[in-house]
């Protein structure tokens, strides 16, 4: 399955609350593959949520392997219907998003999380994540609720121009 284009503001699907999957079927497994392929198409990308590729379904992929700010690292994982069970210790750090051109912002995020969701195999999975992996998971789950990092910045002072990434 080829990588799909990553949608950008003001695409309405990015602001919609995504629907949970009723069950893991072929369509869900195919979505998981598309999420992974789309993430792999951008070398620096560490995660993609389904709404970013135009699918208003509660699913995302994250892979923080090799990232210098990562502590916990579960490699590549896709979760459907993710839920945050526990969250500790908000810390602000600067984020950007493939769906929000030109801007970056300082966003407070929990540094430790326990998150639960369904895998593409239909199994229940509980992950304990921290540091950068926790930030990436929260950023992706926000996409499922129609929230972008600019909805989370603490003040106007916290928005900055993003440098051009090649």
């Amino acid at each position: 399955m080829p990588a799909r284009p990553v949608l950008r503001l003001p695409e309405p699907v990015l602001k919609r609350v995504a629907e949970p999957v009723a069950r893991i079927d072929d369509a869900a497994r195919s979505l998981a593959v598309d999420l992974i392929d789309t993430m792999r198409a951008s070398p620096a990308c560490v995660g993609i949520a389904a709404p970013q590729i135009g699918v208003s379904v509660r699913a995302f992929v994250v892979d923080v392997t090799g990232h210098k700010k990562a502590k916990s690292c579960h490699g590549e994982f896709v979760l459907f219907n993710p839920e945050i069970l526990l969250a500790h210790g908000p810390v602000a750090a600067r984020e950007g998003c493939m769906s929000v051109p030109d801007l970056t912002g300082d966003v407070p995020r929990a540094t430790r999380l326990v998150v639960r969701g369904l895998t593409p195999e239909g199994e229940d999975r509980v992950l304990s994540v921290d540091a950068f992996e926790a930030r990436a998971v929260q950023h992706e789950i926000d996409h499922l609720d129609g929230l972008l990092f600019i909805d989370r910045v603490t003040s106007g002072d916290a928005l900055f121009r993003r440098k051009v990434y090649r």
């Binding site: 990232h67 984020e95 930030r135 990092f149 900055f160 440098k163």
Partner: protein, 178 residues
Amino acid sequence: MAHFAVTAVGSDRPGIVAAVTKTLVDHDCNLEDTSMSILRGHFAMMLVVAGPIALDPSALEAALVQETGGFDLVVAVRQIDDAVPASPEGDAWTVAVYGADRPGIVHAITALLADIGVNVVDLTTRVIGDAERPVYAMVLEVTLPPAVSPQDVAARLDEQAAALGVECSLHPSEADIL
């Protein structure tokens, strides 16, 4: 379409933004990048707006002064270049400086940065603490050119901060694109 730099400053109270932007809308101006904040009790607006080519900056300035008269704003409008100048490329770092208030802190720090080719992209200063012992706090967002080493910049900032009797730190603020 032409571009104009608009500044307006007045004692802070509700309605200033609504009043200024009404006049701008009435003159067919579209707000592009803006920055507005309270500076020592004064609401300060800086706006870059796009407007009709035929718009006379001094006429817009006069209209803003007249139509926002109740707010007693200090207003200036100037036409600026339509082209968007490119800022130097490099990595994003943040410099924080704080210490006893004294004249010359901003100049000394920014002159040092300019000397080594570091570009300032955002700068905020505040006087905090009580009247007897005011503390000057400055946060700069800067771009380090690829050829400049952060360790070298940090060492030079430390040296300058020590001479000024202030504290200074440099830390990376490169965003992670998620």
